[in-house]
């Protein structure tokens, strides 16, 4: 694992904490954009041999994750006219501590999953940490847009893990992940737009009409 790669992965996990700790939606989106930028630099850092594939992947990731998606989410914020997150279900301090616990679990589990070329467990650990932190944001936040940010974090974790595969599984799949994120967030954004129009708020606490108990 090159030092640049380690640094980037640690920075990615730190951005997870930043998203968990922030209460402002715009800060959360900016942090996710920063995470996207770090992820775009990762293929280049992990594969010191330059190739067209690596460069294309880096550029594409940067464009989608750090450019298009944050801009789209900011548009959605302006449409819905929200700035702050409401108090999440478990409080910010508890979220950060749970996030730390999740990262701890990821780092404990990672050595049990050794990578084939012995690249150290930091990659797997960072990927798992991202997935768990994304799940945490998804489940403990009330605003629909913050849930989308959590979904983005989850997908970023899957993306990080996908980077271990680029020798075996073609880059096509990596680009497929990108496309998946793009389309997914796009559709979610449209639905959020409708939700805002219908309910005049994007708090998913309002989406409680359909239930059984």
């Amino acid at each position: 694992m090159t030092p640049a790669g380690s640094l980037l992965l640690i920075a990615v996990v730190l951005t997870d904490f930043a998203v968990l700790a922030t209460s402002r939606l715009s800060t959360g989106i900016r942090t996710i954009g920063l995470q996207g930028l770090l992820l775009a630099a990762l293929p280049v850092a992990l594969h010191p041999a330059w190739s067209l594939h690596t460069a294309a992947l880096a550029v594409g990731t940067a464009l989608v994750k750090a450019g298009i998606l944050p801009r789209f989410l900011n548009w959605a914020i302006r449409e819905a006219n929200v700035r702050r997150e409401m108090e999440p279900l478990i409080g910010y301090g508890a979220s950060v501590l749970l996030g730390a616990a999740a990262v701890g679990v990821a780092f404990v589990v990672a050595p049990a999953l050794p990578l084939p070329d012995g690249r150290g467990s930091l990659l797997v650990a960072a990927a798992l940490a991202n997935v768990l932190a994304g799940l945490l944001v998804l489940t403990t936040r009330r605003k629909a847009l913050t849930q989308v940010v959590g979904y983005l974090m989850l997908e970023n974790g899957v993306f990080v893990f996908g980077l271990t595969q680029t020798e075996q599984v073609p880059f096509l799949l990596e680009l497929g992940v990108l496309l998946d994120v793009f389309v997914g967030v796009f559709i979610m954004g449209i639905v959020v737009f409708h939700i805002n129009r219908e309910f005049d708020s994007i708090s998913s606490a309002r989406l409680e009409e359909l239930k059984d108990i």
Binding site: I10, Y92, G93, V96, A100, A110
Partner: protein, 303 residues
Amino acid sequence: MTSWLCFGLALVLAPLLPGVAQRTKSWLTGRRGPPVLQLYWDLARLWRKGAVFSSVAGASFRLGPVVFAASGVAAAMLLPFANNPALIRFPGDFVAFAGVLALGRFALVLAALDTGSSFEGMGASREAAFGSLSEPVLVLCFAALALASQELSLSGMLGPALPSWWAAGPALAMVGAGVFLVTLAETGRVPVDDPATHLELTMIHEVMVLDHSGPDFALIHYAAALKLTLLGTLLAGVLVPAGQAAAVVRIAGWLGGLLALAVAIGVVESVMARLRLARVPQLLTSAAVLPGFAIILLLSRAA
């Protein structure tokens, strides 16, 4: 020998740091600001004055500043300066270090409560609350350092046994960030507390010592500056890679680190506003996560 020299230097140079911070802040906001040595003149002036004691205050009020200053000096004896061994060292002395500093804070809190004034009581409760949140962060930083250097004494942790930046860079950076945030919290700087505010309801540390005067007040100011110097030494020990260099180089590095810390505090005070008091626990919890993550990294690397 060098240890005694550094110890003396620390005690003497302590009041310089708040001056540097204040000067930096003034320059950044377009003013000239007070001289860097201002705190020395203030201490001298206060020492010459007489003290006024309230008739309802008891022994705790008089003892508070003295214990606070004495705890600062005692903590200085436990801390290694510029990678030289500390004057007093034993395995586990980092606990004593944290404890002695906490003792000082406790004495001040008692003195504030002893006055019976509501302002001091409010300041004391805030100081105690935020202190209880910053202590775990400090302990976590020490735990990370102990893991990194495999030593249980402060002299070992901040000495040559600390891995270099090449080996454990990110972990050291995160511990450094954690110590920086603890410094801001313990010395009452932005974003935890604004030392320049004149509104008592927004103060934490200044309002706690409202009723002290004369030499007592001088002791409190000096001890606060000494606390800043000690935590700054801790930070410099983590961040400045002195290693095995000559003593002069190491001392220069240490002093440079202290200066950089003071400038950094000035910068932070200029660009940020104080956080809402309800948000400070959030900040400190996030600060706890940084050395926690460093510990996870160090453990996974060791495993």
